[in-house]
Symmetry: C2
Subunit: 188 residues, 2 copies
């Protein structure tokens, strides 16, 4: 069915984001996305189940990267260092994408339903990293705490990253945010 479309997936992602930014998420249709990408609706549905999924399709690749990063951390790395190292290693993949992450975040911030979906995806990333830590022998509660603290570190770093015009290195901001978490959690 259907001829091969060079990079159809990437073109659909780009077209969808453009339309979400221009018209708003609610007002954008799958037909409109396909038209903007110069593709058919059928091609759209070969790649995505609905227009919301376009915004979250990168999540499974990110999850794979993060789990692999935790698994491959040095054997003596402390749990939160394994998590943070993995997040820092994944950062360049987000940075490569130019304005995409910023525009995506603006679309999500404007829509409560998308914010809910984003929260669920982040909780999924935390659960996957916690499982990877348990596979390294970290006890359950410590694994959950380290993974969830890592996601909090990432969120704060990511918010700073998209807010700053000068585009600092995301990996550097993750390191800064980790240092802040350590300062905040340090005992009295």
């Amino acid at each position: 069915m259907g001829r091969w479309e060079p990079n159809a997936r990437g073109r659909l992602e780009q077209a969808a984001l453009e339309l979400f930014v221009e018209r708003g998420f609610e007002q954008t249709t799958v037909a409109g996305i396909a038209q903007r990408a110069g593709l058919t609706e059928r091609t759209f549905f070969r790649h995505f189940t609905d227009k919301r999924e376009v915004l979250f399709a990168g999540g499974s690749m990110l999850q794979e990267l993060l789990v692999k990063g935790v698994a491959q951390a040095p054997p003596d790395a402390a749990p939160l260092d394994a998590v943070s190292g993995s997040l820092q290693a994944a950062a360049p993949h987000l940075q490569q994408r130019g304005d995409y992450p910023m525009q995506r975040q603006a679309v999500i911030a404007a829509n409560p339903e998308l914010q809910e979906r984003e929260l669920i995806k982040l909780a999924g990333l935390a659960a996957a990293m916690a499982a990877a830590l348990r596979d390294r022998g970290v006890p359950g509660p410590a694994a959950s705490l380290a993974a969830e603290a890592g996601i909090a570190v990432f969120r704060v770093a990511f918010e700073r990253w998209i807010a700053e015009d000068c585009r600092p290195e995301l990996a550097t901001l993750i390191r800064d945010s980790l240092a802040q978490l350590r300062a905040v959690t340090a005992g009295p």
Copy 2:
């Protein structure tokens, strides 16, 4: 409209939870809840917008308690200690409710839609505590990190609490979980 129903709200909550446990959340209707409570559907809708809301109605009281707890922490309390102290102070309110929190959690764990709602409510609690920390002069990123780390501490403590038969003090488990977070985040 309608005569005064002594503790209608509490009876509806209890009836709803019983039915969710017995029949499952999906299979329970508002009509069935009202009948079990010996009340009318009209009375149900004076208290709750839908059957899902019955499970989350306590959230706004909890949020008020937590925000007040953070605001009233000693002026020199570190951000995470203000958050953790507030969570510990709120713990007895959950413990007073007997089996309710355990049964509620079992219902939520069995239903992905309810799990999503629970995540959103927890994110709301974190955001409210972060705002309360900012009101105390804590900078934005540190406030977010302390509040989200606090919610992670609470979740881990709460999971242990509902898992253990001997019902330890929830406040003690929150303190233990905080100590674990400190161990996990301690620098190398």
